[in-house]
């Protein structure tokens, strides 16, 4: 095992009705005012908004509001949030929504304690030294944003979808009530399943050092995601399946799966970020296109682990067969597996490859993912 630091101080409040205590959780953390940050109105329709306001009022938490966060959250919205927090001297950010809202909230939280442009953190010209506390109430399980210090934001001017990672923006408390997720569409459930799987298998396949315990955890996550997704597609209000899906999604990207590994990279995320940035498709939908294509291209670089994957997940001994079965499963649950299905033309491949390559340079991937290599992978898709 390689040396590592494991530190995840986020408190998860998991279960029914826990959103009704959000004011109390915030108060117990010594915070008196928040920016209430949310999306395009679905929490108002569901009644969740009213319950949050009631809980904040009961605990005397004052707040300003910023709504309108979209999937692939925008830098311009983050800038608005930073300004509101600074002008009103708000003490924290409360995100109510899915991963995009949480990600946007984290960027605001970091920007609120920084004099320059928050985008500096994303292009790595500045380092996050502090942030105001973040709280979340999640309505979607996929990104694990409720239990990590990651945030992905889209700079709409430059068409760059870039990320930060800092424990300073780990939520202090995250509420995960699976009942709030019963209304997620089957389309988004499928995208979420793909996203969760993608969070574990990147390092699983690419690490130069991967202890067996880590492989077992990843396989446990994947098995539970597949099992619960199939239950939920049949019966979206199966609470136990929804809950296990939600908890597993947090485990997939909270620091547990990479602990002790070395050399792992995120090439599928690198390429997918280009798809989302240029074609604005859902992250999970982009990933299910990229992953099988990448697996076919990459498998011989770590054939033993691909064989292990095929055996443990699908009970087959052949790496190619395992890849095919994963691709078929993505398709079965309703996530696209080709560029064509997502209406992305072959002529777009060069531009996608160039965009991904630039991000790859920032992530230290360099020429192992040259424009030509990324084009080859995308041709598979």
């Amino acid at each position: 095992m390689h040396d590592f630091t494991y530190y995840n101080p986020t408190k998860i409040e998991f279960g029914k009705d826990k959103e009704n205590n959000i004011g109390q959780y915030i108060k117990e953390s010594g915070v008196k005012s928040v920016l209430l940050h949310h999306g395009k109105g679905s929490i108002k329709k569901s009644g969740l908004y009213d319950r949050i306001i009631k809980s904040l009022n009961e605990s005397n938490i004052s707040f300003k509001e910023l709504d309108g966060v979209v999937s692939n959250p925008l830098l311009s919205k983050v800038h608005d949030g930073v300004q509101i927090v600074k002008e009103n001297k708000l003490e924290a950010v409360l995100a109510v929504g899915g991963g995009s809202v949480a990600d946007s909230a984290k960027a605001i939280a970091a920007g609120a304690k920084y004099d320059g442009d928050v985008w500096d953190f994303f292009i790595q010209t500045a380092e996050i030294k502090a942030a105001v506390p973040v709280f979340t109430v999640m309505t979607l399980a996929a990104t694990a944003s409720e239990m990590n210090g990651n945030s992905v934001v889209m700079n709409e001017k430059t068409q760059q979808k870039y990320s930060i990672a800092s424990v300073h923006v780990n939520p202090v408390v995250s509420v995960v009530n699976p009942e709030l997720m019963h209304t997620v569409t089957t389309e988004y459930l499928a995208y979420s399943a793909v996203d969760i799987i993608s969070h574990c298998i990147e390092i699983y396949f690419t690490a130069t050092h991967h202890p067996k315990f880590n492989s077992r955890i990843v396989e446990s996550i994947i098995k539970s995601v597949m099992e619960t997704t199939e239950i939920l597609l049949e019966n979206p209000t199966d609470y136990d399946a929804r809950a296990e899906f939600a908890w597993v999604s947090s485990q997939a990207l909270n620091g547990l799966t990479p602990a002790g590994t070395a050399g792992g990279t995120f090439p599928n995320h690198m390429i997918e970020h280009a798809l989302s940035a240029i074609y604005n498709i859902a992250h999970g939908g982009g990933l299910s296109i990229v992953i099988p294509a990448w697996m076919k291209w990459y498998k011989n670089q770590n054939i033993e682990q691909f064989e292990r994957f095929s055996r443990e997940i699908f009970g087959v001994n052949d790496a190619n067969k395992g890849i095919e079965m994963l691709e078929a499963w993505f398709s079965k649950i309703g996530s696209p597996i080709s560029l064509k299905e997502a209406n992305i033309p072959r002529e777009g491949i060069n531009e996608l490859a160039k965009n991904a390559y630039e991000l790859g340079k920032l992530w230290g991937l360099g020429e192992s993912y040259s424009v030509e290599k990324i084009e080859t992978i995308l041709e598979n898709a």
Copy 2:
């Protein structure tokens, strides 16, 4: 899944030479003085003591010392520690050693912020509301004490081995350097392996609600423990095996395996505590005696999970066969599987059962583990 709160704010610094930074970790936490707490001198022989002192001095951390902690740590030593911390107004406790030293340090940390007798927390007549910070440098992997808020202490006057659990005594930073564990005897390695397995399988078998993800995590832990134990018995300085063993031991009792389960109990620990309290045998050695006996007695209450265990861990479909194979494995690695092997006479069973029953009442087990039932289980052993 049942509602739960997951909160584990301990930072783990895992890897080679990290003990040399312990002064810095303490300083970064804003602490300037500690009680340096350790065992019976092994850290002086190994040179670890000198490295710790050097690191504390380099970071200007002042300290007092209290050594002499034994396996099954004693309440009298805890009382000594509380007095030293209070008299010298020390800001924290630094444990250097195995689980017993960490447990003793946690009890001292809680006692240091309490006017009454720290034993009140163990017999549940008072609740821990605060504690001074705890830091650890671990020389043994077994109890997961480095990553949880648990402490087990022996009241030598009353022959009670009782426990506390509070996030207030979770270590702030724990150093886990697997190299410090290369010199653990094969005997203690075996006891540790049994202990780790015991931490997961109690809830695994007894919970009334146990999500499949939790089962998978437990099985992942058990498989990795068995695999790495066998490697280490052959080659005690295999770093990767030692490291995976150490990390898995933390995962077995850090809050992950029970999250979302309901109704789980710890009957094997209840009975073993009586064995340790009266016959002062090593905890792991006591557990390997109790567990197979308990499994044989209990299996029909949850036969499906016993069949799952047998299938997943040993590749057999029969619950009885799985129990036999676990018992045989305990024996193979050198841990006792009968009272006789530990020189505990049959006549002692009644006293053991009464001692365990009293603890069981405190743990809410009541008449489901009556004196007679515990006697029946111990007759199996």
